[in-house]
């Protein structure tokens, strides 16, 4: 995408992995990359926020404590409304997923930082974790009754095979859509930001008269940044919400 007017901008360069500490065990690459660094950062930030916020003591909560309590109440309300009171034992899982994804998304919005969730391997791991949790919990709690999930009640017998096939396929494609939704939103959002940033650089590198036009893509970048802030929160919320709904299937199969 080299332009004759300005420097070449490669919008997907921001997603490249680069090793920071080279580690090789048995000819396998276990290097600490920028991705792992930002993952560790996200975990440390989440733990620090909750540790400081949950220290309590003060009669009037400070800002951090209010933030931690808001996050707790928000996720707790989500789990309660989607899976009922019995689903609250999965609150730690949902809360960890939500905080990790939210902080990864928000940290990724800082210029020159790295967005962990823009790599499908990360989101696919999280989605598969949820998928296998649902299967294991469902089979452990309900045994073969779990597979009632695929047989909706009140369906005429002659279209039942078709409905069961569709239900099985939709169940199996869940981790795919679950992971691609988060990954694609993050990737496309960051590429869009980078493309508009590239327009600013290209226009500034162009002739004198055109330089003033660089204000337009710059304003667009600011607007897109606000949208990305919304998307960063929304996708963390949607990921956690879908996790709750899938867990609800494991806890109450056939209850829908």
């Amino acid at each position: 995408m080299a332009s004759p007017a300005g420097p070449a901008i490669n919008p997907i360069e921001q997603f490249s992995l680069s090793p920071i500490v080279q580690i090789e065990i048995a000819h396998r690459d276990f290097s600490l990359t920028n991705s792992s660094l930002f993952m560790i950062l996200a975990v440390v930030l989440a733990c620090a926020l909750m540790a400081v916020g949950a220290r309590g003591g003060a009669g009037v909560p400070g800002r951090l404590q209010a933030l931690a309590e808001m996050a707790y109440e928000f996720v707790a309300g989500m789990v309660r409304s989607a899976c009922g009171e019995s689903g609250m034992r999965f609150f730690p899982l949902v809360f960890s997923l939500f905080m990790f994804i939210l902080i990864c998304n928000l940290v990724g919005l800082i210029p020159y930082s790295f967005t962990v969730t823009s790599h499908i391997i990360v989101t696919a791991s999280l989605a598969l974790l949820v998928f296998f949790t649902v299967v294991v919990i469902g089979v452990k709690e309900h045994g073969l009754h779990f597979f009632k999930l695929f047989v909706p009640s009140g369906v005429p017998i002659y279209i039942l095979p078709l409905v069961v096939a569709i239900e099985v396929i939709s169940f199996l494609t869940r981790p795919l859509s679950h992971s691609v939704r988060l990954f694609a939103n993050m990737l496309a959002g960051h590429i869009t930001l980078n493309v508009f940033g590239g327009f600013v650089v290209m226009l500034l590198g162009a002739g004198v008269g055109v330089k003033a036009l660089a204000v337009l893509p710059f304003a667009m970048t600011i607007g897109l940044d606000a949208l990305e802030l919304l998307v960063a929160f929304l996708q963390a919320y949607v990921f956690a919400m879908l996790t709750c709904m899938y867990l609800n299937d494991a806890l109450h199969p056939g209850g829908h």
């Binding site: 919008p11 590429i191 929304l234 949607v238 919400m241």
Partner: protein, 79 residues
């Protein structure tokens, strides 16, 4: 036309075709908010309780448009 020029042209045409999908997602998001407003004006007291579902539906619908945009971006920058 040289073969690689043809491939380049096909790449850009494909990216343009993929971007049509974002318009389809736009229809979906428009329907979503339109219907929500329709219902909200009839029964304003129910608005607050349904806001979460609205945002959820928006995110899920918008994600489909993002998938189309992703294909367009992949064709433009990664193929």
């Amino acid at each position: 036309m040289e073969p690689h020029e043809l491939a380049l042209a096909a790449k850009y045409v494909g990216a343009g075709l993929a971007a049509i999908g974002t318009g389809a997602a736009g229809i979906g998001v428009g329907t979503l908010f339109g219907q929500f407003l329709n219902g909200a004006l009839r029964n304003p007291s129910a608005v607050d309780g349904q806001f979460g579902r609205l945002i959820f539906g928006f995110a899920v619908t918008e994600a489909l448009g993002i998938f189309a945009l992703l294909i367009a971006f992949l064709l433009l920058f990664a193929v």
